[in-house]
Symmetry: C2
Subunit: 241 residues, 2 copies
């Protein structure tokens, strides 16, 4: 005969599994938004850009649902410390996913503006490559979460450095284009914001990976990760060459 | 004689009060970082900028401590639904505060770069006015939280529209400066990122105000708030005039 406690435990497990399934669904939608957003930008596909913008509502709704179910499960089950940590991690992961989704939406918004301007050589392809890297980082972070794989999460964390380097190179390139021809300024501004947003997506995914490491190991990784956007420190002499 | 339950309830109240005191302390530091960051930018005060950068560590540490104490209280006290909602709100507020602090730090970082460039007429003062508005919004949001004042939080929410308008005006101005003289481009790029970051601070504070409304009324405000950054939609013709 099954005891009451076992009944409760398995109900809790089912709830947790269903919440995790929602997070994975949300993660999948955000991954698609990153890729579609970058592809829409590169091909100036306004229909696809519009799909990304409309799709953000579903992502936002999923976040709210995940948060509600987390809160409900905590309130109903009063989970022990380890389980509570999982739920609070989910709470944070869904918050970060929502913000990554917002950046993808913003990329799609700017695409409709950029479609009316003359293209900047190579910028869209470089941005898409950057976005593709971030999407892969996100995929690995979600895998690391499900498999409780701190090593994979640490790997993601290290890869953020590549994103930062790609962004710094683009920053320099856009400045050069603007200096060469003032007619490039408006387009470059939008492209620069997009590139910066992709860099921020990388930061958010890196934070998510750190949450996973904390969940698995119980300690936050040491801050040995090379720090992000160097352009805040760039003097004119660095950026003009 | 005091019952065991009363003992537990008052211990919980004390814990909650101590967590809320930490949030207020964190909020005060973030308010100061916004004001100091903007003042350092305007006066090119590198010492003050450096103070803001170093101060961000304290803000980050407070966030971690708040999160730990929230998690511990939830785990130990298994609070009822209403109390749990307060703790989860605190969890979110501290996360938003930490991000506002990051933007202030970024403003301070860029100040040291900008100090080496020629000033852009009026830009720093306009940015400081915007930052001042955001700081007041934050102050009112924290007051609204403590007093459980949904009306004040709603007021903050409406004021975000002013921040967006200030940002849109600055965006146009910077583009004009860049077009007029390519030697302004690098400085304007940094100023534009700073202005965008202040606009994002406003968005974060608005989200915090919405969390307070949700905490007090139990429902999220309707999405009637005028939407943020119009520049994502601006065509060249809008921005060039």
């Amino acid at each position: 005969m099954i005891s009451d406690e076992q009944h409760i435990v398995s109900a809790y497990d089912r709830e947790l599994e269903s919440i995790q399934a929602l997070v994975m669904k949300m993660g999948g939608l955000v991954e698609a938004a990153i890729l579609d957003g970058a592809r829409a930008l590169e091909t100036r596909d306004l229909e696809l850009a519009d799909k990304v913008r409309r799709g953000d509502r579903t992502i936002d709704e999923l976040e709210e649902r995940i948060n509600e179910e987390c809160a409900r499960t905590i309130a109903l089950r009063a989970p022990v410390s380890a389980d509570l940590r999982v739920l609070l991690t989910v709470f944070r992961l869904s918050g970060s996913l929502e913000r990554v989704g917002d950046y993808a939406k913003n990329m799609a918004k700017r695409t409709s503006v950029l479609a009316e301007m003359r293209p900047i050589q190579g910028a869209d392809a470089a941005t898409r490559r950057m976005a593709r890297e971030v999407q892969l980082m996100l995929k690995d972070t979600l895998d690391a979460y499900i498999r409780r794989d701190a090593q994979l999460a640490e790997d993601v964390r290290q890869r953020d450095h590549d994103i930062d380097q790609m962004y710094n190179a683009l920053f320099r390139e856009f400045l050069t284009f603007m200096m060469e021809d003032p007619r490039n300024i408006t387009a470059c501004m939008h492209l620069l914001f997009i590139a910066k947003n992709v860099e921020r997506m990388g930061d958010l995914v890196t934070n998510m990976a750190e949450q996973v490491i904390y969940l698995v190991t119980g300690t936050m990784p040491e801050d040995t990760r090379p720090k992000g956007d160097e352009t805040s420190f760039m003097g004119a002499e660095d950026e003009d060459d």
